[in-house]
């Protein structure tokens, strides 16, 4: 018990004196997950919108697939990307394995179904009267679509934040494709796993506390967005 208390004490001291190594790990985590999130949004939001606006033959199946992929096990994604990027894999020539780029690819794959599926749900939940109102005011079909996306913005943002929470907290995929190389691909979650193995609990605890703080900030933002979005439901 006393070692846990001691560990927390040292962890807080580490956070307060934030050294360059710790800061580098935190920044790399944010950079990898942030970039993955941007790419996932750039792919996922248009796909969600496309599925929301168009009638397609396999639409139901694609949506079910996306919903299934929302729960993809990170280690499976890591393994899949590893096989693609390894020297004998089809993309081995790009030499991306054990680089932040590979980690971004893996996290993009984890984040994009969440962004896409939740964007789709938010878009189809927009009251059909909005489409009619914008049409009566003279909007082109493209402008009507933009208006509907704008009306769904709180739901879309909730999806993006949920995806950010998932990729920030995952360890399986980036450990496999990033390799946890100090100063290059070492991020918060992989460091926690490594330092725990080594018995270096202070650093692991310090990163755990920071990760929790980031997670709390993300969830608070999510809560605020949802509160704002549900401010009015009357049309």
């Amino acid at each position: 018990m006393s070692s846990i208390v001691e560990g927390f004490g040292r962890a807080f001291s580490l956070i307060l004196h934030l050294d360059a190594e710790l800061l580098g790990i935190i920044l790399l985590s944010l950079k990898v997950s942030g970039t993955a999130l941007i790419v996932a949004t750039l792919i996922g939001l248009p796909l969600g919108a496309f599925l929301g606006f168009r009638t397609l033959p396999l639409k139901g199946f694609i949506i079910s697939l996306l919903n299934t992929f929302m729960g993809l096990p990170p280690v499976v994604v890591g393994l899949f990307i590893y096989l693609l990027l390894s020297r004998s894999g089809p993309f081995g020539f790009m030499a991306l394995l054990y680089t932040p780029a590979a980690m971004i690819i893996a996290q993009t794959i984890l984040a994009f179904p969440i962004v896409s599926s939740l964007s789709h749900s938010a878009i189809v939940a927009v009251d059909p009267i909005i489409k009619q109102a914008s049409m009566t005011l003279g909007a082109t079909p493209f402008q009507v679509s933009l208006t509907i996306i704008r009306e769904a913005r709180y739901g879309i943002m909730a999806g993006i934040i949920a995806a950010f929470g998932r990729v920030m907290a995952e360890v399986g995929a980036i450990l496999i494709v990033g390799g946890n190389i100090a100063g290059f691909t070492r991020v918060m979650t992989t460091t926690i796993a490594l330092e725990t193995d080594k018995g270096n609990f202070e650093l692991a605890l310090a990163l755990g506390i920071i990760l929790l703080a980031i997670s709390l900030a993300i969830n608070s933002a999510l809560h605020l967005i949802q509160k704002k979005g549900s401010a009015g439901i009357k049309r």
């Binding site: 009619q132 109102a133 005011l137 049309r235």
Partner: protein, 223 residues
């Protein structure tokens, strides 16, 4: 009147129930037309078909611009507008709701601001310009719908039951807005209502939809 609307042999059914049956009418003159009839008689359907929001099963809607047939494209649609009974408020401020029609037409910011403020003043919502539009009362929401339509200065304005879901005070305010629009006299207004007295107060021409057909009103006690 630059834009003339003619409905020819319009028929429309929903789930086998024929709402409009060979309905023809030509809105040849400027002014306010009131389309009367009991609930479910097809007034709104007729209005939505005229506003090109719905396709008829049979028949045709034709617009004549300066005497020539107009293509039913976005340019024509932007010369008319329909205020729906449930307005369809965008989740943003009152100002941005009213500015919507101007924004999508690429009107510059300064002109947009001037026109929106003028219309907000006209409908008595100028003090609510920065308020979230979803927080307005139902009467104010209906006035917002009118403002959103008026700001684009349509040549034909369709109003579908504009006072159906508002209290007496707001009904008076909305009727007053429509009366003042009449005095401006630039557009043709086609309004549906199930309230005969309201139709008589507001309109220059009274029309009735009965058994799926439209005709000029000649029998005051017909419903």
């Amino acid at each position: 009147m630059n834009l003339r609307l003619t409905a020819t042999h319009i028929s429309k059914s929903y789930n086998g129930n024929r709402v409009l049956d060979d309905c023809s009418f030509s809105f040849d003159r400027s002014g306010t037309y009131a389309l009367m009839g009991p609930n479910g008689c097809g007034k709104s359907t007729f209005l939505r078909i005229c506003a090109l929001l719905e396709e008829p099963d049979a028949g045709e809607i034709n617009y004549l611009s300066q005497g020539h047939p107009a293509n039913k494209d976005i340019r024509l649609r932007r010369r008319t507008t329909l205020v729906l009974p449930r307005v369809g408020v965008f989740n943003t401020t009152v100002f941005r709701n009213v500015a919507y029609g101007l924004t999508i037409r690429g009107i510059r910011r300064k002109e947009r601001e001037e026109r929106v403020m003028k219309v907000l003043h006209f409908v008595g919502l100028d003090e609510k310009r920065d308020q979230g539009a979803l927080t307005l009362s139902s009467g104010e929401t209906q006035r917002l719908g009118l403002a959103r339509a008026l700001v684009i200065e349509p040549e034909i304005l369709f109003l579908d039951e504009p006072t159906a879901s508002v209290d007496r005070k707001n009904t008076e305010i909305i009727e007053d807005i429509i009366m003042r629009m009449k005095k401006g006299g630039r557009s043709t207004v086609i309004i549906t209502t199930h309230d005969r007295l309201q139709a008589e107060r507001l309109a220059d021409f009274l029309l009735v939809i009965k058994e799926g057909n439209i005709s000029a009103d000649r029998s005051p006690l017909s419903f």
